[in-house]
Symmetry: C2
Subunit: 322 residues, 2 copies
């Protein structure tokens, strides 16, 4: 007989819907390969009247968060609440952990601001906390770092972690103005209606905080990072860089220097045309990790999109179950 | 009180020595972070008289392989036997699995030829088998694929997996002859005295077999891959490619086509100057994996060297223990 795994989901936006979809699609495979039956018990939604593109027949939909996080019939809670209500998200996931549920999180802002508290709650309740979807979209960077840093000392991480900014700067490198590039990004679902958090570098700063915690076991205060916005860049800036054999890219950088001080940067930066980051275009991300033993390693993939993000959430789910 | 983990090691060459070193260096950390005591019980060596650069005081050195693989006092067996005696390696790891030891393997040729049998032995004996060091040196590609392919369908993998060939072709792209480049590679410890397996593409073919098994759950017969050697390339070939805006790189490629047939290639191939693989130089590797949900992802790092390889073996060890 199969072991039943009962799942609760917080949020049914684009990512949440894709997660529901992926769980349904893989039901048979999970049965055959792992002998488990995946059951979605309930989903917390914000607006009952919103039209959704996913089959939820037989699943309890609720507007009351406690129906999920305090529900004794749920083993694993998947949080897909997005960027709104960060404190509410924190309270929800901590409540789920305290109610003995393993938790899979995707909200990066919440993890950047309250990561210490949330990881502590997971430890104290002896529950698993997985956060792959919070950084790098479909790139399995978090679990890779957790896996690979065990005998390792990591002092430096850098790369491109914001898909929206990279998409816009890629278009500007092809002679589009900032406004044209932003319009194009919105049209392709790669920029939100209010794109401030992405283009002003806050989104990348959140991810920097999360990666630094994983790689270096350090807390960075989000207020200590002063990201530089890409909104002030013009096509002329891009051209001037090109004339010097460079390309402007949305870079993040965190380094523990020789005095053991943390140096951080988030913002547009002109990299050499020969730099591998020069070839990371559109909505792709690439994250470099420098280890004492393993040298420089890098991880590349789509940094945004419901499908890649849902795919890593499903991997987190399978990993917890195994 | 700490839980004691008793380790046996097969082989004390460059990788084996570095593994011993890394385990000793991390002893305290393993105690503090995971509450475990790592103890190396025994090491199988081939030549007792060989001088070694690693401290083995208090560790039993033996020339009899059974002292390790049949030793009831050993929990985990780490295989660092290198490319010689592939059948002996297979027998040793299967014997270790049958004697209820978890196994960490590094010998790619053995895994390419006997992978099916070895994985089956692990399954039947309900033991863990980790193989990270067999492909991509310090790149955690195997565990990443095992982790990320759970809800995923992978049809295509490609990239650069042979550090020696890539080092040689990088030098040839900088106007060295094949002979000069090979001499330089040997001097830097990146080519063996007999470099045939690397430069003729067999090494990359072994890794292709291993990756195909992990990604696509398929067996490739090594004889069905007919790798193309890089030894026939001249500086003129490199120049001719450059004039067409291309760079010759040592590529591997495996694709399940629309008819569900496997297409494989291993050998030198001219990639566009804008292709990310054009920027993978020296002893670095880069492996691309194309998934149905997650799109194209890639993993980059040093493809050879005792230190990166030992580092992923140590990660395998910690993962088994956890």
């Amino acid at each position: 007989m199969e072991k039943k795994i009962r799942i609760g989901i917080l949020g049914l936006g684009t990512v949440g819907s894709k997660v529901v979809d992926l769980i349904q699609v893989n039901k048979e495979r999970a049965k055959i390969e792992y002998g488990i039956e995946l059951e979605i018990v309930g989903i917390m939604i914000r607006d009952r009247n919103k039209k959704r593109n996913v089959a939820t027949k037989g699943i309890r939909l609720t507007e009351n968060i406690d129906d999920i996080v305090k529900n004794p019939d749920i083993d694993i809670c998947i949080e897909c609440m997005g960027g709104v209500g960060t404190e509410q998200t924190k309270n929800a996931v901590i409540m789920a952990l305290c109610n003995h549920k393993h938790v899979i999180m995707s909200s990066k802002k919440c993890l950047a601001l309250y990561g210490k508290e949330i990881f502590l709650a997971a430890k104290e309740n002896n529950r698993q906390l997985r956060i792959e979807a919070s950084v790098g979209g479909g790139i399995p960077i978090c679990s890779t770092i957790m896996h690979m840093s065990q005998g390792e000392t990591i002092k430096k991480i850098f790369g491109i972690v914001n898909a929206t900014s990279n998409y816009i700067l890629t278009a500007m490198n092809n002679d589009k103005t900032y406004e044209e590039a932003l319009t194009q990004a919105k049209k392709n679902g790669l920029a939100e209606n209010n794109p401030e958090e992405d283009v002003d570098g806050l989104d990348a700063a959140y991810k920097l905080c999360i990666l630094v915690r994983l790689c270096m076991k350090l807390d960075v205060n989000i207020n200590d990072i002063q990201p530089v916005s890409i909104t002030k860049l013009s096509v002329n800036d891009m051209k001037a860089a090109k004339e010097e054999g460079k390309i402007i890219k949305p870079i993040f950088y965190a380094n523990v220097n020789e005095k053991e001080e943390m140096e951080c940067f988030v913002g547009p930066y002109a990299v050499s045309k020969e730099n591998p980051l020069a070839f990371v275009n559109d909505n792709n991300n690439m994250i470099f990790v420098e280890g004492k033993y393993s040298g420089l390693r890098a991880f590349y993939g789509q940094g945004a999109g419901a499908s890649p993000t849902a795919s890593v959430i499903y991997d987190d789910l399978m990993d917890i179950i195994k």
